[in-house]
Symmetry: D2
Subunit: 326 residues, 4 copies
C-alpha cells in the first residue's frame, strides 16, 4: 500500500525502520509470530507491505533529503535499529506553513499526493497545530486519499469534515493514538483489578519521564493532559481525586525512551495496607508505530473497498474517536 507522510518525526523513524525490520524477518519467521505485532495481515496487507511514496516536513535538515536520511535528522532521537533502510527515492517536500497562502498550499499538497498515487496520508506533526491538520485533511480529500490523524487535534471528531470524507467514499481515522502499551492502560488495569476484588483505593500516583519533543513541549503546562490521563483510567470521580498525575517530566538523557512510575496504595481486609509499585520502560515512538501500522492498513483496506468515513475497528486504537468530547 502507498503511504504518504506529513511530519517526519520519531514516530516515522520507528515506522520506516520497523517495516524493514519485519521485511528482514519475513524469510525466517511465520507471519503469525512476528514480535510485537497484533495483526500480521489486514486485508491482504502484511506488516512490511508499506511503500512510502511521499513525505512533507518543514525542518531544515529534513526537507530536500531522502526519507531514508530525513528520519535520522535532528531533533529526532529514536534509536538506529540494526536494520538497513535503503534509499526510498522519496525526497521530503516542503510542508504547509501557517502564514502561507492556504488554498495554494492545499492545492500543491493535493497534486503531490495524486502524483505519488498515495492511498493514505498519515498526519503526524507535533500536537497543537490544528491549522496544519486541517490543510492536510483538505489536500487528502481533494486528492482522493484516506487520512489517519495521530494527534489530539480535532479532525475525525469534526462532524462536517467526517461527513465530507464519508460522502467521498474516503476513510478518515482519528483522533489521537492510544499507546500500544502505555502507562494509562497498565494503571487502568491495576486499578480495575483492585476494584474488582473489593479493595479500597487509598491513593495513587503516576509520573512519566521522557526525553523526546513531546516531553519537552508539554513540560510546562499539562493541565489538559493531566485530565486526559485521569480520564484514561476509567475510574469514577471519587477515585480520580485520589490519583495524582504528573504527565510530563522532561529528562533529556532518556531521548525517545519513556519511563513511568506508578504507585498504588490500597486497603484490604481490616484496613491492612496493600502497596503496588511499578516501573514501566518503553520506546515511546515504538508505542506509536505499533498502532499506526494497523490504522494505516485499516484505512487503505476501506478505501480499496470504496467505503468512506470512520473505521470502527480503529476505535480501540484511538484515545479520541468520533463521539468523544472534542
Amino acid at each position: 500500500m502507498n503511504l504518504a507522510i506529513a511530519g517526519v518525526g520519531n514516530n516515522i523513524t520507528a515506522l520506516v525502520q520497523g517495516v524493514y525490520y519485519y521485511q528482514a524477518l519475513a524469510s525466517t519467521h511465520p507471519q503469525a509470530d512476528l514480535p510485537g505485532i497484533r495483526r500480521p495481515v489486514i486485508d491482504d496487507i502484511p506488516v512490511d507491505g508499506l511503500d512510502f511514496v511521499a513525505a512533507y516536513d518543514v525542518t531544515a535538515g529534513k526537507v530536500g533529503a531522502d526519507l531514508a536520511e530525513a528520519i535520522f535528522a535532528a531533533p529526532n532521537n529514536y534509536p538506529r535499529l540494526e536494520v538497513r533502510v535503503p534509499t526510498q527515492n522519496v525526497v521530503v517536500e516542503q510542508g504547509v506553513v501557517e502564514d502561507g497562502d492556504r488554498d495554494e498550499q492545499i492545492e500543491r499538497i493535493a497534486k503531490s499526493l495524486s502524483e505519488a498515487q498515495a492511498e493514505v496520508l498519515l498526519y503526524s506533526l507535533p500536537a497543537g497545530r490544528k491549522w496544519a491538520a486541517e490543510m492536510y485533511a483538505e489536500a487528502a480529500l481533494a486528492a482522493g486519499v484516506a487520512l489517519v490523524n495521530c494527534t489530539p487535534d480535532v479532525i475525525a471528531r469534526d462532524r462536517a469534515l467526517l461527513a465530507r470524507y464519508t460522502e467521498a467514499n474516503l476513510p478518515l481515522v482519528g483522533d489521537d493514538l492510544a499507546s500500544h502499551f502505555g502507562t494509562s492502560v497498565v494503571h487502568k488495569s491495576l486499578l480495575k483489578l483492585l476494584a474488582d476484588r473489593g479493595l479500597t483505593l487509598t491513593s495513587s500516583y503516576q509520573f512519566n519521564l521522557g526525553g523526546n519533543q513531546d516531553f519537552q513541549n508539554l513540560n510546562a503546562g499539562g493541565t489538559e493532559k493531566k485530565q486526559s490521563k485521569l480520564n484514561a483510567l476509567s475510574v469514577g470521580a471519587e477515585a480520580q481525586q485520589k490519583v495524582h498525575m504528573m504527565p510530563f517530566g522532561y529528562v533529556p538523557q532518556l531521548a525517545d525512551q519513556k519511563v513511568a512510575h506508578l504507585n498504588i496504595e490500597g486497603m484490604g481486609w481490616a484496613g491492612t495496607p496493600i502497596t503496588v509499585d511499578l516501573k514501566l520502560k518503553v520506546q515511546d515512538s515504538s508505542n506509536a508505530a505499533g498502532v499506526i501500522i494497523d490504522l494505516v492498513r485499516f484505512a487503505a483496506a476501506r478505501r480499496r473497498a470504496q467505503q468512506g468515513g470512520f473505521v470502527d475497528e480503529a476505535s480501540s486504537l484511538l484515545k479520541s474517536p468520533p463521539g468523544t468530547p472534542a
Copy 2:
C-alpha cells in the same frame, strides 16, 4: 452466623480482629463503603455478623486459652490491629491428631460442633494434613454443619465426599483459597494485557518473600507450588517456559507480610524492548481473611436454604474448585 474453626493460625487472627474492626466502623460508615470488602452483605449476613462458637487446635499455647488470646499465641505473627477483641467465651479445644483413635476423635468434634450450634466449620490447618481435613469433614457431616476448606488438600474435589454432603443438604466449599489480591492475579493480568496488545513476551520472573509459617514450610520443596503458580497465570505452555517462578523465599523479618517482585520483559514494534518491574506488598493473612469472609457466609446462607453441595458463587474465590485436577 455461628462459625467453628479448625486451626487457629494467622488467617484466624486476621479474621477475628477484622470482624471487630468492621463492627467498630459500622456506626460511622455506610455498609457499601467498608474498606477492603467486596460483598458487604451476603444473604442478610453482614461482615461483622460472625459469631465464633468453637475452635480446635493442637498447639500448646492455644489449646485451653480463650480464642481472643489464642489468636495471638506463637507462632502466629499477624499484627495486632488497633481494635479490641473482647473475650469470646470460646475456649480452644484439643484438635484431632494423626495417631489418635479416628472414630472417637470424629465423634468428639461432631458433638462439640452440635453443642456449639455451629453452622459452618472453617478448616484452616497448615496444608498437607489430609488425614486431619478428612476427620473434620466427617465430623461436620455428622453434626449437620457446612464445611469450608481453605487448604489445597483434596476435600471438595473428592467426588464421593461431595456427594454425601449434597445428599445431606450441607454445603461443602473448597479447595484452596485464591488470594484477595495476590501475586498470581497481578502477574496474570499484566501478561494478558501484553498479549492482548500483540506484544511478545521475552521473559518474566516472579518471586515471593514472606516470613510466616507457610513460607517456612514450603521453602525447601516447592516444585508443585511452582507449577500451580505457573498454571495460575493462565498462559499457554510456550509462555510458561519463559516465566521463572520462585514461589517461596523465607525472610523471617517480614513476619506475616508478603513481598513479591515481578519482572516482565517484552518486545514491541520492531522488536524494541518493554520492561515492567513491579513490587507488591500485602499482609498475607489479610489476603486470606478477605476471601474467607465471603466463603463462610456463602456456606451459611446455603445451609439455611437447605441446599447441599458446592456453592457455585465461590468458584472465583478458590484456586481448585471441584472439577479442577486433584
Copy 3:
C-alpha cells in the same frame, strides 16, 4: 535545656513527640541503643532533656493554644505517634509579622525569651522569610539566647551578624538543615561508589515527591533548589550535566512522607550497561528533627560554656554553614 521555638510546623510536631517517645523508652533501653539517634548525649544533655519554654507562630489555630495542641493544628500533617504529649503549659504567642513595627516586635520577643529563661531559640519558619529570620535573630541576641536556623535563609552566613553573636558569647548555628537520611546523601554515595570503581556515569535522574507545605510551596519554581540539590551530590560539572533533578513533586496524599526515586545508568567493562534504581521512603519532618536534636544541644552546650559564634561540630549537619556561598 530550655528551648524556645519560632514556627510551630511539622518539624516541631516531630521534635516534641520524639522527646516524649524517647522519654518513654528511657526506662527500658540503654541510652546507647535508642532507635534513630546518632548522639545519645551531648554535653550531659540527653535526647529527652529538652524543655519547651516558649513558642511563636502566626497561624490562627496555633496562636493561643498550648504547644501540645498547636503541634497538631492544620496545616501540620506529621502523623500522631503512639505517645502521649502532656500539656506543656506553654501557650503559643503571636510571632512577628512583616508589616508590624520592627523594633517593638523584636523587643516583645526578646522580653518573652528572657522571661522564659530560654537557652536556645530554634528558628523553623517556612523558607524565604528573611525579614522574620532577622527579627528573631535580633531578639535572641538581645535576650542573650543562642540561635539555630533550620532554613536556607542567610543568617549564620551573615558575617556581621555572626560577629555580633561571637562578641556576645552566644552561639549562632545555621543555615539549612541537612536531612538525617535524605535523597542527596544516598544519591551522592552511589555516584561516588560508581566513580571510585572507575565506572562511567551515563545519566541519572532524581525526583522527590511529598505532600507537606515544603512541597506545596516549592512546586512551581525550583530552579534554585535544583542547583542546590545538584551541588549536594559533590560531583564535577561534567557529571552534573548528566544528572536530571526534579526536586519537588507535590502529591497531597503523601502528607509528611517523602518518596524519592533515583536512577543511575552507567557503563562498566567494554561499555556494558549498569543500572541502579532506588526508591527511598521517609518521614520528611523526622529527617529534620533527627538533626535538630543535635543542633540545639550543640548550641546550648556552647552557650553554657560561654563560647559564641558558629559551632564547628554542626558543619556536617548543615547544608550551608558559614563559608558556603550565600
Copy 4:
C-alpha cells in the same frame, strides 16, 4: 603483555571482546576517558595492551577452536558486543583433567606456557576444582609465569605455595575476584550510611538472580556463599542477624546478566520508618573482566620487575587475599 588463559568461560568472552572494544576506542578517546576503566595504564601497559598467547579448556566445542571462536561456544552466554575479534592464531589446548597423570599434565602445560612466552596465567575455571587450580599453579611456577586466581579456591592463601612463588620472584595474585560493581559493595555502602547517620537497622534482604553457570551451579547449596556475602557487608554480628541473604536464584532467561534486589528497613527519629528499595542490573562477567584487567597487569608489571609473591595493590580487588581465612 602476554596472557595465557585456563578456562575459557564468560569472563574470558568479556575480557577478549573488551580488549578489542578499547582498541577501537583508542583512536578517538583520550586514555583517561575510557568508559568503565579505573586504571587506564598500569606500568606502561594500557587496557588494550594484552596479547592472548595460550588457552586451555576441556569443553568439546572449545578445545581445538581458535580463541576468537571458542569464547562464543556453549555454555558461554555473554553477549556479542559490537566489535570484531580477529582470529587470534591461538588454538585452545586440552586443559588438565582430574583423572589424568598429574605430573605429565603439569609438564605439558608448563611447556606450552614457555613456548607461548606467557608472562601471566589467568586461572578462571568454575569454582570448586582445587585439584585443577593446583596443577595450573605448579605449571606456571615451573614455566616462570605469574599466576592470577579468579576463583575462591585456596591458592594465594596457601602459605607454602605463596612462599615458593616469592622465592622464584614470581607474582601470585588471588583469591576470588571482588565484583567491579556488585551487590555487596552497594549493600555495604547503604548500610554504612544508615549507621553513620545514627539510624537503626530494622531488617534487610538481598537476593541475586542470574542465568549463567555460576548461578546454575550454586543454586542448590549456598550456605557458605550466604555467610561470605554477609561478611562482605562489614557489619557487626547483631546487624548480620537482621539481614536475610538469598545469594543465588537461577533464572535462565537472564543469561549472563545479574539482577539484584535489596531492601533496607530502618528507623529514624522517634522510631519513624525509613525504607530503601534498590534494583541493580549488571552484566555479570563484565563485573569480573573489569577487575581482571587490573590484576593481570599488576602481575605482569611485578614479574617484569622480578618481584615475587602477592601484589599488595590487588588487595581491594579481591574477596579473599592472603591473610583472610581459607
